[in-house]
């Protein structure tokens, strides 16, 4: 009971941050379930070329005009088709790993024509990290850098070398543990598909990559004990009029733009018309960020079906990363033993 009350109070505490945005209403033509709620069921995609944070050249501009949006999409298309001839054969090329055949952010901006996913603060930028969190992250980065003064480090997707003594050293994505696309639901490199199934007291969201399930009871039950940590957190849902609200805590250490395990995520899904869900998420994490912040994403209907993304089962990349690191160590040891060679 106490826990339940705490959950409700937490939800209420988050409301002022969201109240400043115009509340969204379900469109007249949206399908509804037998119990009268908008039916969120279906296969949806949030693939977009809309930048996460507002780029410097768009400072002060919250929305594109229709002409600007068309121009932006055209320019992006050209950029995406770049054959990368200029960097062929370099480390930078290897670090990028994939070409435009693999990347699948779509070709369109959100149809809201927003210039960034981040909508609050109004400058469209993720707020500064707390000093404490900055120190923690800097210490982790320094330690990784120090370890890479010796051989046995491998490039990460971002192009920086990282330790590779074992899989535990590698980024969560390389280990198939998190693609930072499930909670919150943000488009990533590809496979930006989500399947929602809605029942009267439960909502399930299947995140295609890497088959991560969000299980959301809609029955007033409280979060699991705080000692329990989950990779997509522990979610509880409720209806606020026609908007489905998800409250998520109990995260594993899955940093999202610097968040820590105290992350409290509030998500709001509104089906504004038959083909569109507006999704707003508020990041509430006072130990990591100097203030709460909110993003907005548009989901549109996708044809489906979702594929099985058996990531860990086919993780040949990890074998390659670790065996390259061992090879480098061996080479270095041989060089030390007989420097002339």
């Amino acid at each position: 009971m106490t826990l339940r009350l705490a959950g409700i109070l937490t939800l209420c505490a988050a409301l002022p941050a969201l109240a400043q945005f115009k509340p969204l209403v379900a469109g007249k033509d949206v399908p509804r379930t037998a119990d009268g709620h908008p039916d969120l069921s279906g296969i949806w995609t949030n693939a977009t070329i809309t930048p996460f944070e507002r780029p410097a050249e768009l400072t002060g501009k919250e929305f594109f005009t229709p002409e600007e949006a068309a121009q932006y999409e055209k320019t992006h298309k050209l950029f995406n088709a770049d054959d990368r001839e200029k960097i062929k054969g370099t480390n930078a090329d290897v670090a990028l790993a994939y070409n435009a055949v693999f990347w699948d952010p779509g070709t369109r901006l959100f149809k809201t024509r927003r210039t960034s996913v981040v909508i609050d603060p109004p400058d469209g930028k993720v707020p500064a990290l707390t000093l404490e969190r900055q120190k923690q992250l800097a210490a982790i980065a320094a330690e990784r850098k120090k370890r890479c003064e010796q051989p046995g480090c491998e490039l990460e997707n971002g192009g920086q070398p990282g330790p590779a003594d074992g899989p535990q050293d590698r980024p969560l994505m390389e280990r198939c543990l998190s693609f930072a696309n499930a909670a919150p639901m943000i488009a990533t490199a590809y496979n930006n598909n989500y399947e929602i199934v809605q029942t009267p007291n439960f909502v399930g969201i299947d995140v295609e990559m890497p088959h991560q399930m969000r299980r959301i009871p809609v029955d007033g039950t409280p979060h699991v004990a705080s000692s329990v940590r989950e990779w997509v957190g522990d979610s509880r849902g409720r209806w606020d009029g026609d908007t489905f609200v998800i409250d998520t805590t109990n995260f594993e250490d899955v940093p999202f733009h610097g968040s820590d395990t105290n992350l409290h995520l509030i998500e709001r899904l509104t089906r504004i018309d038959a083909d569109t869900l507006i999704y707003r998420f508020t990041v509430d994490d006072p130990t990591a960020f100097t203030k709460q912040w909110t993003g907005e994403v548009t989901f549109v209907k996708a044809p489906g079906p979702l594929y099985e993304y058996a990531c860990h089962e086919g993780n040949q990349g990890m074998f390659g990363i670790l065996s390259s690191a061992r090879f480098d160590e061996k080479q270095a040891a041989q060089h030390l033993a007989s420097p002339g060679k």
Binding site: T33, A34, D35, S41, Q150, P151, G152, A164, D165, G166, P167, Q168, R175, C176, L177, E195, V197, Q198, T199, N201, F202, G204, D206, H211, Q212, M213, R215, P217, T221, P222, V224, V228, E230, W231, V232, P305, L306, Y307, E308, A310, H312, E313, M318, F319, L322, S323, A325, R326, E329, A333
Partner: protein, 271 residues
């Protein structure tokens, strides 16, 4: 003979249907909860209560693989869940099963936290959840975050082979029937080395018996491995405890050292 029997059955069913009031589906059980569209409501968290994941066939207790774990790691006894008791292997496959069994403490894909396949996901010793929409049912399992999408009555081209298969469902009265095809040959049925090829075809039947029990049957067909189709059956029980919730059992972190250990830089190794 077979045709005659089917005809007689059909006639009998028709007679019953005429006698019963409208809306009374076959095998209707008043205690079975129903969805708004009148189907049995299978929503909830379910779990098998048997030792089939150790061995589908009858087995006595046995020591486990790690001596220091003592009784914790030991294998509990159990009866066969296979109709007729034995799995009808073809001779070459029987030899392969024996080999698998000898190497089960290293070769069982469960050790590596790989997706468990079907029907194994159903009777692993962890719960699973049914999230039942009208056209789509999600079957989500605690182990390895396995998930299956069951499309009701929608026949689509199979996209490609997979670990959890391609599931098409339909209702046969109050029974949810799921036809599962398009498997790879990488999963096992249990920790005893029972296996299949990529020709596996599974037909599952979920029949509610009251509110808290589903009678589960799976017919397994694989002409490369078995001499005939065979069937397993077992009850599945609803988690009725207050606040029952399917928690994530993300096992990758616990399997990584097994999968990649030979490529890791161990502490104490010179660098």
């Amino acid at each position: 003979m077979r045709v005659w029997t089917s005809w007689r059955l059909a006639a009998a069913s028709l007679a019953i249907a005429v006698l019963l009031p409208p809306g009374y589906a076959q095998t209707t059980d008043a205690k079975v909860p129903r969805t708004a569209d009148g189907k049995p409501d299978l929503n909830g968290i379910w779990q098998a209560m048997n030792t089939a994941n150790w061995d589908l066939q009858a087995h006595g207790s046995a020591p486990g693989p790690v001596t220091s774990l003592g009784a914790i790691g030991a294998i509990p006894p159990g009866q066969s869940v296979v109709e007729g008791g034995a799995i009808p292997y073809l001779p070459a496959a029987a030899a392969q099963q024996k080999k698998n069994n000898e190497h089960r403490w290293t070769d069982d894909p469960e050790i590596k936290c790989y997706l468990p396949g079907v029907p194994r996901a159903t009777y692993q010793p962890y719960p699973f959840q049914i999230i039942q929409g009208s056209n789509t049912i999600l079957l989500t399992y605690a182990f390895a975050g396995a998930v299956r999408t069951v499309r009701i009555g929608k026949v689509e081209a199979v996209p490609n082979d997979s670990w959890m298969g391609w599931s098409i469902g339909h209702w046969d009265g109050d029974t949810l029937v799921i036809d599962v095809t398009s498997f790879n040959d990488q999963t096992w049925f249990d920790r005893a080395g029972d296996f299949h090829s990529d020709a596996l075809h599974v037909v599952e039947r979920y029949t509610p018996d009251g509110r808290n029990i589903i009678n589960y049957e799976a017919t397994i067909e694989d002409p490369k491995v078995f001499s005939r189709p065979w069937k397993i059956s077992m009850p599945l029980y609803r988690h009725v405890e207050k606040g029952a919730h399917l928690m994530e059992f993300q096992c990758i972190p616990y399997a990584e050292d097994v999968v990649y250990g030979h490529l890791e830089h161990r502490k104490g190794d010179s660098k």
